[in-house]
Symmetry: C2
């Protein structure tokens, strides 16, 4: 399925990594605002234009692995057990993501992000995209021909949960408070069937 990548693609990936590493190192050393694009390019020993052919913006250098986030959410919907209801599956995944970025090792990065308005704003718009693709994924899972308002709504709520929990002083407690609210909202759309002889897949 995946061919062994040729020299070309390996070099490209190496360049990308070299840039990302240099950027992160400088950012943590001197602070996001104190590091210029030209500094990063010099440190990574590439041209500025090369840097921008790998990353769309300075902010994107910080959120290098954001496709992960998107994929993990959509897969949490698609790959869950055949009888697992939607919201708990999303809750597990969001919980894992929050724990991942509130870990001690990630703390300096998130401190930097929280300190920079530009980065916060960028993250916001990233989340909007994530909510959109989550909504699509949920609609597909429900067998809908297109994303409905309810799908979009619940997707937003779930993304809100991530961002609120991440910023909360006690992320676990925040999760425990937010997700029951999301559950309730979801039940308005897909009422849980009474535990009678109903064998259909829970929503």
């Amino acid at each position: 399925m995946t061919e062994p990548p040729g020299r070309r693609e390996r070099k490209k990936a190496a360049t990308r990594q070299k840039i990302a590493d240099a950027a992160l190192r400088l950012f943590l050393e001197r602070g996001y605002d104190a590091v210029g694009i030209r500094d990063i390019a010099a440190e990574a020993d590439v041209a500025v234009t090369t840097l921008f052919s790998h990353f769309a913006s300075k902010e994107a250098l910080v959120f290098e692995q954001d496709q992960d986030f998107e994929q993990r959410l959509t897969q949490a919907v698609a790959d869950r057990g055949p009888h697992e209801p939607l919201i708990p599956a999303l809750r597990r995944e969001i919980h894992a993501l929050v724990r991942h970025c509130t870990a001690d090792s990630a703390a300096p990065i998130w401190r930097m992000i929280d300190a920079s308005p530009a980065l916060r704003q960028y993250e916001e718009s990233m989340r909007l995209r994530h909510a959109d693709s989550l909504a699509t994924s949920i609609a597909a899972d429900l067998g809908l021909p297109q994303t409905t308002t309810a799908c979009r709504t619940i997707a937003r709520f779930v993304i809100d949960a991530y961002s609120l929990a991440r910023e909360a002083p006690d992320p676990d407690a925040a999760m425990d408070e937010i997700f029951p609210m999301i559950e309730a909202a979801w039940e308005v759309v897909c009422p849980i069937p009474a535990p009678t002889g109903d064998r259909s897949r829970p929503r």
Copy 2:
């Protein structure tokens, strides 16, 4: 209470308005991206530095009246009737705001906003601020000493409702779908008291 403004303040307000008008005119004429700050300043016959002393950024020229938005939401919470529950009051206000910006007269502006990533991103971060102050307002209304996770959550949900309804093909239908979900989420936090002899203010 409000003194008649002196010549100075009148001139300042006039300058601000002149800039905003020039900007809007040019934006609608040529498109947001095709108009430079220097163009706007020239059209308004002011220096670039003057423009930036009235507006914090190019995007802010488009969202001139955003403090309105924030105030109307917080006031919808604070100024509602003494027995009106929280969510319906917010629903009314959001509905009015959505109708206001989906009116035909506002259509070209919002088409422009939707077409520009920079403007969409700016609006997003505006909304985050609005959600924060709405959360504060809700917490105050509930007599809480500080904003809790539940307040922040419901505030986000309400702001989401605004943005989802605004973008929906049928904003009214979207409102009818989203707000029952928010009601349900809110009931998890503040269960509606049974309609017995309970005379306390509904939440």
